[in-house]
Symmetry: C2
Subunit: 384 residues, 2 copies
Amino acid sequence: MTFADTARLDDPKDEATAFAADRPLTLDSGATLDGLRLAYKTYGTLNAARSNAILICHALSLDQYVASSHPVSGRPAWWRTMVGPGLPMDPARHFIICSNVVGGCMGSTGPSSINPATGRPWGLAFPVITIADMVRAQAMLVQSLGIDKLFAVVGGSMGGMQVLQWASDYPEMLFSAVCIAAAPRHSAQNIAFHEVGRQAIMADPDWRGGDYANEGVRPEKGLAVARMAAHITYLSEPALHRKFGRELQSDGLSWGFDADFQVESYLRHQGASFVDRFDANSYLYITRAMDYFDLAANHGGVLADAFRAARDVRFCVFSFTSDWLYPTVESRSVVRALNAAGSRASFVEIDSDKGHDAFLLDEPVLRSALGGFMSSAAQIRGLP
Amino acid sequence: MTFADTARLDDPKDEATAFAADRPLTLDSGATLDGLRLAYKTYGTLNAARSNAILICHALSLDQYVASSHPVSGRPAWWRTMVGPGLPMDPARHFIICSNVVGGCMGSTGPSSINPATGRPWGLAFPVITIADMVRAQAMLVQSLGIDKLFAVVGGSMGGMQVLQWASDYPEMLFSAVCIAAAPRHSAQNIAFHEVGRQAIMADPDWRGGDYANEGVRPEKGLAVARMAAHITYLSEPALHRKFGRELQSDGLSWGFDADFQVESYLRHQGASFVDRFDANSYLYITRAMDYFDLAANHGGVLADAFRAARDVRFCVFSFTSDWLYPTVESRSVVRALNAAGSRASFVEIDSDKGHDAFLLDEPVLRSALGGFMSSAAQIRGLP
């Protein structure tokens, strides 16, 4: 099964709903994007007061399939530990929306979409997008659904960056906001890891200067290497040690370059399975958007000023002790800025040795703390 | 200037001396290597008692040019902060030896050498080698120089692994041993990063299944990506932040995929310059040797048992607080094992935010502590 066969919006196997914008999307770069489409999924029912909507923002390598299985890979719902019956985000109580980001490859407009000017895939002619552009597109979607104020916007990792951008750009549309394992800007080390991934993709001769879709090939090897490098950063050293240690695949060393160690085989699998469900150019564009992210930069370097208008939004910020990609110190800087801006912010640092990916895993403390925050917010909002 | 033009032993521009073994090298894999040659450099003069020799073991990407400039890249001596007049290792007092490891590409027998069986470069037909194989070859070189006991064996990173292996396999040939920023085995995370690098090389179509030297090409892009990924692990996040932060190359964002951030440009340069002086297959073989390294494994999992015969060797072990590649906990496990084996071990954890590469940089505390250790050992050894 190849990506091109199954992943586009017009494929009947893809059950995503599509939002078609009635006006161009203005981008931070100064460009405008005509014919914006966002593929999204919803779960639950919008109440009569339109006050129970939750927007979930997804991370770099994820998509709108937050609570249902992935149509290409068959992967189970990516946030099944947090979204579902009896969980903090519950379709029985909430109207849950999750859209594929602009620049993505699961049905939303991105570099593998058709460029109306040429009738062929955009490739590198697609404009560079930012986290703010992703959020601007999401706001159009939310408004099109008749929702003036979201009960909550929630996201981890790049999703958490979008949450912070929402609070900065559309505070009047938020009742509460949950930012998990994220940062208010990308660090030099974050940028460095992304640059390795981009160079791996661009080094693949099948990338063809970004024009691979027009030439019927795909830079699978480069994208797999990019994913492998990134994947290491999602796990902690203790988690890797506990999971794999120096365990071998078979009885002895191969004395060659096959995957001797289980961790090698695991990484190769991560790389190989990623290329079935992700597009290399989308990887370039989305990592670029993350690298460009620096919320304070548009406010004279003062992060608190980004949150000045968000005083009435209830915030909850989470970090994990073993997350070295977006360490606790980054979340603390967000909380400090929220406090300085006069916002109500809860902060929970969760003791976990699972690394950055902890937000996607079965972390009972995250579930109960997030559940508590959502229940308390629901009470104030008058939701059941 | 290309690698093939300048870096081989028979090139007149390479001033390295060569040791040609008079017997085959028996390898851990069970294979034997005929016609072993080790390229090496010496500095200073062996005294009449042959008691002032120091063997320096180099790290993955380095070579024998410990105290003189690199003949291919022109890079200054790689350990000019530690080897030289008035420094802890001083050619006026010591006879300093540094040899390119077996498997390397700066003149020692490795995968780019000529396979005597075919008359063409070995490529992947070269046998997989280990840290112990590197040390076994070094011991032959040291013996050939008429040295029964080294005053010291010294190394950082992979060089430190060789030091530990020396203490395990040839303790009677050592008076003292200095292990800097190393570990007694490769962790799952260490292996994972190396595997990313190997996959990047092997994904490059110019790698040609390892046979590129016979086909007149070189997998430069893959090797550059491997180097970029590895280089991030050599630096700490604070060092990257201090050095680059989010500083741009020019006045504004490019809104494209050029190197916008200084850290991107720095990494690209690291990748591009590495391919001028290193061979891709050597990178595969040497990283494999490091991944296979697990000193306790041959001693029933008890690290102390590797050092039982090294009771008379004076050890000094160094780590750096911000080294996340070989963190202090690894050095501590070495010191604990040395203590359990009844050896004299000093341990110095140096407070530095420069990461793993601190051992190569101007670290005054390392210099003074190493200088003190060497002076004290010299006194006991009866050296000036």
